[in-house]
Amino acid sequence: MATAAFEIKDEQRPLNEIPVSLPNGEESTEDAIAAEGNDPTEQLTVFHSADNFNVKHPLMNKWTLWFTKPPSGKGGNDWSDLLKEVVTFDSVEEFWGIYNNISKTSDLSLKSDYHLFKQGVRPEWEDVQNKNGGKWSYQFRDKRAVNIDELWLNVMLSAIGETLEADAANEVMGVVVNVRKAFYRIGVWTRTTGAKGGNKDALMEIGKRFKDVLKLPARDYVEFSGHTESAHSGSTRAKAKYSV
């Protein structure tokens, strides 16, 4: 493995031990803080001070960003060699630090993918947590007509903001964007297919919300297919099991 994924280091300290530097650059003292009228335990968000915040917005889950490199034409082109774990994060602020410093989907080479999955779940259907599941997906066949960067961002935000599924549905495993010659495809991977042990209503609700996030008109459909059926049909475009 050339690179291991990393997590953004946490070095949390009690609030009252975090130095608050004043705008004039002087070392802060309790007197100075008192003079400013600031309580050292005050919760300062990134909106209060982008360089001096002391609280961050937690996500309900830890998420890992993965990247599939396009095959290089030389050896080492197995899927497992091309799939790279990029970074794991668990706050809104970290998400934006990452998003603002990685390539946009529209700049990626053909045959690349981004995957944003809950930590501990590999973005592969063989993963034990995916193998009984499936995905909602939609292909954008007119690549020039679509703002793929905005759509992919919105799908990632709905995943990390936990608005793709109702409380306790526990179906969403991750989201993915594929860059291909003839299309972009965005998908939401789910834990079950709604069959045994699954909840079809929860899956249909995810499909509806996903369609909403993609801003698709009513006449277009997002389609659900099970991973195993896709694998057996030898195509990633298995016959849809459901559509919304």
Partner: protein, 84 residues
């Protein structure tokens, strides 16, 4: 080579604590809170964030998430264009 020093924003990010509850948390004027309808209970670390709330951070936290970020990205994603 000396490793690059983390930016002030990255230092703040590393030392910041996760918010425990949205209740009582005040944002500066002009910043909207997470949609309260998504967070009916004040359960710790169970926050749901709507898109409009999340989008407010886009231009506010722009620093690289580690000091060796570019090196990491060239190893994983490759050919990354460093815009900053």
């Amino acid at each position: 080579d000396e490793p690059a020093l983390p930016s002030a924003a990255l230092t703040a990010l590393r030392s910041a604590r996760p918010i425990e509850t949205l209740k009582g948390l005040e944002y500066p004027e002009g910043i909207q809170s997470p949609n309260p309808a998504l967070n009916p209970t004040a359960a710790p670390a169970k926050f749901r964030y709507d898109k409009d709330f999340l989008m407010q951070f886009q231009t506010v936290f722009t620093d690289k998430p580690s000091t060796d970020w570019d090196e990491r990205m060239s190893k994983t994603i490759g050919d990354i264009e460093s815009a900053r």
